[in-house]
C-alpha cells in the first residue's frame, strides 16, 4: 500500500485519512497492512507528544481517526483476528469520580500500542474492579482520578485487590492531575504516569516490553 495513509494520520488530516482507507480497501489492500500503517503513525504521534510537540487535542484527534478507520476496516475483516497482544490492562476512573477525558486517552493509547484494554468507565465500584482483574487475569490495572477524594478510592481499590489475593499478580498504575509519588505511596500502588505516553511506557515495562 502507499504511504499516503500513514502521512495523513500523522498530519491529522481526518478526511484524507478516511478517504485513503476506503480507497486502499477497495483496491484490495490487506486490512492488516492498514492497521500496521496506523500503528506506525500513532507511534510517531506518541513520540511527538512525549517530545512536547503534540498535545492532548492531537491525541484525541488521532484516537478519533483510529475509530473511523477501524469502523471502515470491520467489513473487510473475516473474523476478529486475535492478533498478539502485549498483555491485558484494566482501566477505570475510580469510585466517586466521573472524570473520563484523561482515562479515555490512556485507553486509546494502550489499545493502539497493542494492549488488550478492558475499560470499566467512570465511578468504578471497587468490587467490580477486583472482579474484572480476577476474571481477565490482567497484568496491569490503571486507576484514574481528578479529585482528591479519588485518593481514598485508589487506596481502597488496592487494598481490596490485596484482600482478594490478587495484588501479587497485577501492577497498579495511577493517573490524574493531582497524582504524585506521595499518592502512589498513600494508595499502595506501583507507579504513576503524568500522561498517556508515560502510562503506556509504564505498562510496557511491567509486561516485559520495551519502554
Amino acid at each position: 500500500m502507499s504511504s499516503g495513509l500513514k502521512e495523513a494520520v500523522i498530519e491529522l488530516r481526518e478526511v484524507d485519512a478516511l478517504r485513503i482507507t476506503e480507497e486502499e480497501l477497495k483496491g484490495g489492500t490487506d486490512p492488516l497492512d492498514i492497521v500496521t500503517a496506523c500503528r506506525e503513525a500513532m507511534d510517531v504521534i506518541g513520540q511527538r507528544f512525549a517530545d512536547g510537540q503534540a498535545f492532548i487535542p492531537e491525541l484525541i484527534m488521532a484516537g478519533e481517526m483510529m475509530q473511523g478507520i477501524t469502523a471502515r476496516l470491520k467489513p473487510y475483516l473475516k473474523s476478529e483476528a486475535p492478533g498478539e497482544t502485549l498483555g491485558t490492562v484494566v482501566m477505570c476512573t475510580v469510585q466517586g469520580d466521573i472524570h473520563d477525558i484523561g482515562k479515555d486517552i490512556v485507553v486509546t493509547m494502550l489499545d493502539i500500542a497493542g494492549f488488550e484494554v478492558i475499560d470499566l468507565g467512570v465511578d468504578a465500584r471497587v468490587e467490580k474492579v477486583v472482579e474484572t482483574v480476577r476474571d481477565s487475569k490482567a497484568q496491569v490495572l490503571g486507576l484514574s482520578g481528578l479529585l482528591t477524594v479519588a485518593f481514598d478510592s485508589m487506596k481502597a481499590t488496592v487494598a481490596a485487590l490485596d484482600e482478594a489475593g490478587l495484588r501479587g499478580d497485577v501492577k497498579v498504575m495511577l493517573g490524574g492531575a493531582p497524582v504524585t509519588d506521595a499518592v502512589v505511596e498513600f494508595a499502595g500502588a506501583d507507579g504513576w504516569g503524568k500522561d498517556a505516553v508515560a502510562a503506556v511506557n509504564l505498562a510496557k515495562s511491567w509486561v516485559g516490553g520495551a519502554s
Binding site: 478519533e64 466517586g96 466521573i98 485518593f151 493531582p178 499518592v183
Partner: protein
C-alpha cells in the same frame, strides 16, 4: 453599589479606586470597631498586593470548597441540602482558622434548586455521585458541532431555545417558544404569546417560580453565612463576581473538552467566531455582579488552556486573544480579574505577561506552576499567588506543610505582590496540615 453620575467620564484607574474604596468601606454593621478595622485592614492587604507593594502580612486566601463540612463531620450532601449545616459549618470553619478571605461560597451549591430544575449538566450527591463527593460535570456535547452558526448569530436565542432545554429538564418547553426578539410590533404580539398557553409551558413557568424560591432560600443562607463572617470576624469576601474565558465557556459546559478539541481540527474558524461573540457577554456577566455586590474582584477559573491541553501556538492564537479581550474589558470597568489558573501554566507565562494588560490591575493565582518563574515573568507586572498542592493538604505532615510554605513565601512573597493560597479548591485536607498552612502563612508572611 451606586456608581457616581460621572462614571462614564472616569478613567479605568479612577473606577478601580472607587470600587476598591467601596469594597473596603462596605456598608454593613460590624460587631465592634475592632472587627470593622480588621476588615478594612484585610482589604488593605489586597490593595497592597495588587499594587505590588509589601502588605503588612501576606494575605492568606485559600480556595475553600467542601472542607468546612468535612472538618465538622458533615457530608457534601448535607452541605448542599441542609442550609443550617451550610451556614453553621461555614462560619465555624472561618472562625476556627481565620483566613484573610472568605472561601468560595458559590461553590457550596443548592441541591434543592437543581432538583427543581432537573439539572442535567452535573451529577451531585444523591444524583449520580456519592453523598460525600462534590458535584461533577457530566462531560457531553451539550452543544452540537453543527450549532456554531446559531450560537454566533444570536447567543441569547441559542441559549433559550436550544441549550437551556437540553441542560435543564424543567426548561425543555423553552424550545417551543419563539425568540423574544420577535416582539417588535403590535400585530406580532398575540402570535408570540399564544405559545404560553401550552400546558407544558405553564408547567415550566411554575417550575421556574419554584426554582426562584429555592434559589432565594439558598441565597439568603449564603448571604447570612458570609455576612456573619464579615461582620463578626472581619474577613472580606474575595469574589464580587465571576466570569470565564470564552474558550472555557465553549469547552467546559457546551462542546465539552473532547468536542472542542476536535473542533480545532474540523471547524477552527467557527471556534474563533463563537469566542469573539462571547467576549461582551463574559464582561457584562461579571460587571453586573460586581456592581451589585460592591466588590471589584472577579473570580475567573480557567481550565482548557493549561500546559498539555494545547500547543503554545494554539494558546497564543486560539485561547489568549479573546480571554485577553475579557480581561481588558473588565479592567476598563475598574474591575480586578482574579484568575484561578488550574493545572500547570509553565508554558504560558510569557504569553500572559502581555504588555497590553496594564500593570497592577489583576491577580494570577496558580496551581502546579513553577512559582519562581511565575514571579519573575508575571510577578513583575501583576500580583500572583496560590500553588500549595492538593496532595500536601490531603496527605502532608504539618512539618512538610510548614517547610513548603516557608520556601514558597521566601522565594516569591518577600517583595510583596503575593497571595498565599491552595493550588486547587479544597474539598478535603488533613486538619493538622491545614492548620499548619495557616500557621506557616502567618509565621513567614510578615514581610516587614
Amino acid at each position: 453599589m451606586n456608581l457616581p453620575g460621572n462614571w462614564n467620564d472616569l478613567t479605568p484607574d479612577q473606577r478601580l479606586q472607587f470600587r476598591l474604596d467601596a469594597w473596603q468601606g462596605i456598608p454593613i454593621e460590624f460587631s465592634s470597631l475592632e472587627v470593622a478595622q480588621a476588615y478594612r485592614n484585610r482589604v488593605q492587604l489586597y490593595r497592597d498586593v495588587l499594587d505590588l507593594e509589601k502588605p503588612a502580612t501576606v494575605p492568606i486566601a485559600p480556595w475553600i470548597g467542601l472542607l468546612p463540612f468535612r472538618y465538622f463531620g458533615h457530608t457534601a450532601k448535607q452541605a448542599y441540602y441542609d442550609y443550617e449545616v451550610f451556614k453553621d459549618d461555614w462560619f465555624r470553619f472561618h472562625e476556627a482558622t481565620m483566613p484573610d478571605g472568605i472561601g468560595l461560597t458559590l461553590g457550596i451549591v443548592p441541591g434543592k434548586l437543581f432538583d427543581v430544575l432537573d439539572y442535567k449538566l452535573y451529577d451531585w450527591p444523591g444524583h449520580g455521585t456519592p453523598d460525600d463527593t462534590c458535584y461533577q460535570y457530566s462531560e457531553q456535547e451539550w452543544m452540537k458541532g453543527d450549532e456554531y452558526q446559531a450560537l454566533i448569530q444570536d447567543p441569547g436565542t441559542y441559549w433559550q431555545r436550544t441549550y437551556l432545554p437540553r441542560v435543564f429538564g424543567a426548561m425543555e418547553p423553552f424550545a417551543m417558544l419563539p425568540p423574544w426578539t420577535d416582539l417588535v410590533e403590535i400585530p406580532f404580539t398575540a402570535p408570540f404569546f399564544a405559545g404560553f398557553s401550552a400546558p407544558p409551558v405553564k408547567e415550566m413557568l411554575q417550575k421556574l417560580m419554584d426554582a426562584g424560591d429555592a434559589a432565594m432560600e439558598w441565597l439568603q443562607a449564603a448571604m447570612a453565612a458570609d455576612g456573619r463572617v464579615m461582620a463578626t470576624l472581619g474577613i472580606p469576601q474575595t469574589a464580587g463576581g465571576a466570569t470565564k474565558a470564552p474558550y472555557d465557556i465553549l469547552g467546559d459546559t457546551m462542546r465539552g473538552t473532547r468536542g472542542l478539541m476536535l473542533d480545532k481540527f474540523r471547524r477552527p474558524e467557527s471556534i474563533v467566531a463563537a469566542m469573539e461573540r462571547l467576549v461582551p457577554q463574559a464582561v457584562d456577566w461579571a460587571l453586573r455582579s460586581c456592581d451589585m455586590t460592591g466588590n471589584p474582584m472577579v473570580f475567573i477559573p480557567i481550565h482548557k488552556g493549561a500546559d498539555g491541553f494545547m500547543s503554545d501556538a494554539d494558546f497564543r492564537e486560539l485561547y489568549w486573544p479573546t480571554f485577553k479581550a475579557v480581561l481588558l474589558g473588565l479592567i476598563e470597568q475598574g474591575l480586578v480579574p482574579w484568575v484561578f489558573v488550574e493545572g500547570s501554566y509553565n508554558e504560558r507565562l510569557e504569553v500572559i505577561a502581555d504588555d497590553d494588560i496594564p500593570a497592577h490591575r489583576m491577580i494570577w493565582m496558580f496551581d502546579a506552576t513553577d512559582m519562581e518563574r511565575a514571579k519573575a515573568v508575571v510577578g513583575s507586572r501583576q500580583c500572583i499567588g496560590g500553588n500549595v498542592p492538593a496532595a500536601l493538604f490531603a496527605m502532608g505532615t504539618p512539618e512538610e506543610m510548614d517547610a513548603y510554605v516557608k520556601d514558597l513565601l521566601g522565594n516569591t512573597a518577600q517583595d510583596g505582590g503575593f497571595i498565599l493560597s491552595s493550588g486547587i479548591v479544597l474539598d478535603e485536607a488533613d486538619p493538622a496540615a491545614y492548620q499548619a498552612f495557616i500557621d506557616a502563612g502567618r509565621k513567614y508572611g510578615a514581610t516587614g
